[in-house]
Amino acid sequence: MTRRIVVVSAGLSDPSSTRLLADLLAKETLALLGDAEVEVIELRPLAHALADQLLTGFATGELAAAERAMAQADAVIAVTPVFSASYSGLFKTFFDVLERGTLDGTPVLVAATAGTARHSLVLEHALRPLFSHLQAVVVPTGVFAASEDWGAGGADGALVRRVQRAAGELAALVASRQHTTRPDQFDRDLAALGDFENLLRG
């Protein structure tokens, strides 16, 4: 069965090192899984729609499609630039507006980019707690890439080995699981409701 890998990239520039890291992780995961397809969600073009959803409570157009893709994902690779010692506001907004339960039990690989390696713990103090809250299953290895990892400083291949290790963990987790469709809020409420007599009994 073809697995669906959804990549979320909150990079703002083009080319973007955030997108570059996301692509490395996706390519490696795809190679390991074999029968899989990758969908990339760039958040920049969705920025206005995200602000609208904050205000109206519902998603439209491409954003609605992106949120549906998240609900169908067998695995998520989430990559953000570091802004002010955390994930970017745009990245957080996307996960703020996702309907509760969208990522229930979904394998997630977290990754981040920054200008300096001093921010590398952002994976542990910001991204991992966010996805734990969303009840996703975060793989043990997160991938952080600072500016030096892309140039001569990364020549020892540390970033590549880390990408391989994280992608390996994600692929193994996905391969060990059946594809299941996650019910949305309405269906979960409905399933919990049972018969009205149950509600009446309190």
Partner: protein, 344 residues
């Protein structure tokens, strides 16, 4: 099929003039709008219930509706909504039965939970109990209008022993009840269980939410033995702004839309119209969009429009109602024959 208007009684600055009506002006405007609704041939006027600024809707809708009963002859008076969570079911039973007598039966009511978190603790309640409050309070209200001697014990109010709610409903017929909810299946289930009406506010969300809730309500209405799913009693909200031609309607409404309390500062008017039932345009366009509601909700029984919000001044609203009267006359030509006649 019934057509009418519903209001939330918001006191909002008119963005085109910077003028904010006083509470007194807003309350008197609401009365004028209701009287006008009867004049143009609408079937229903419904008022919200509010306990906080910026609203000048009644905290207890029967206060307004009893006044309107005296000023009108034909229009049905209703609510949008009566808070079933924070009101005592005993007071709802008493006040609305009294209204029913004053209005000679020309009333019904729509129950809602209220989504304003701070309101609940003002009345000793907790918003996290919203569904449980709606279920328990209505179970009591339902009995109070049908039984003269009620013993009651529940989670949320003091027990009753041998209690009789007075006055008894007019001619022994309890007021008709609608249950309103945007996306809580429990409330569609509740409406179906009792064979009551189900109303989808409809106006602030894409239609797919309404479609799912209405489909659930219809299926469960049949399940509980109240009739066929297609005969279930569905009501929908709508929101219109009319002008002779669509460009004028858009140009006139845009300043209100752009800063409106609910959707202001967000999507454009055009985007919002494309994804919700908001209908701003010529009478023909509004008729066409409104007729489209039944494609996903089926044939339904009550259509309420919001026309008096976001700072629109009274004279504009009254002019809107003149045009709405013509729109409704056109809509009536398309009513499904099987659903003709009044409710309950």
């Amino acid at each position: 099929m019934e057509y009418g208007i519903f209001t939330v009684g918001d006191v909002t600055t008119d963005p085109t003039t910077g003028r904010t009506p006083t509470e007194h002006e807003r309350i008197k405007a609401t009365v004028a709008i209701a009287v006008k609704a009867e004049e143009i041939g609408l079937d229903v006027f419904a008022t919200g219930e509010h306990h906080n600024p910026p609203f000048a809707a009644p905290a207890n809708p029967p206060v307004l509706l009893a006044h309107l009963a005296a000023k009108t002859d034909r229009i049905k008076l209703s609510t949008s909504t009566t808070l079933i969570t924070t009101n005592d079911a005993v007071r709802i039973a008493e006040d609305y039965a009294y209204l029913q007598h004053l209005a000679d039966g020309r009333m019904d009511l729509m129950l809602g939970r209220g989504n304003t978190g701070p309101v609940y603790p003002w009345f000793g309640k907790d918003i996290r109990d919203g569904i449980a409050l709606a279920v328990e309070n209505y179970a009591l209200l339902h009995r109070l209008w049908r039984e003269e001697d009620v013993d009651w014990e529940g989670r949320f109010r003091t027990p009753l022993q041998g209690f009789t709610s007075t006055p008894r409903p007019l001619d022994g017929t309890p007021p008709f009840v609608w249950h309103g909810s945007i996306r809580s299946p429990e409330i569609a289930e509740q409406a179906a269980y009792y064979g009551d009406g189900f109303f989808s506010n409809h106006i602030f969300w894409p239609a797919e939410h309404t479609a799912r809730m209405v489909a659930l309500y219809r299926a469960r209405f049949e399940h509980y033995g109240h009739g066929r799913a297609e005969d279930a009693i569905v009501g929908l909200g709508g929101q219109v702004y009319l002008a002779k031609n669509s460009q004028d309607a858009i140009a006139q409404f845009r300043p209100y839309f752009d800063v409106a309390p609910v959707y202001g500062h967000g999507p454009s008017l055009e985007e919002y119209m494309a994804s919700t039932p908001l209908s701003v345009g010529s009478p023909d366009q509004v008729v066409e969009k409104t007729l489209g509601f039944r494609e996903y909700a089926g044939d339904y029984r009550r259509q309420l429009f919001l026309v008096d919000h976001s700072g629109l001044p009274l004279d504009t609203v009254l002019h809107q109602l003149d045009m709405l009267g013509d729109v409704v006359a056109e809509l009536r030509k398309h009513d499904a024959p099987a659903l003709e006649g009044s409710l309950a």
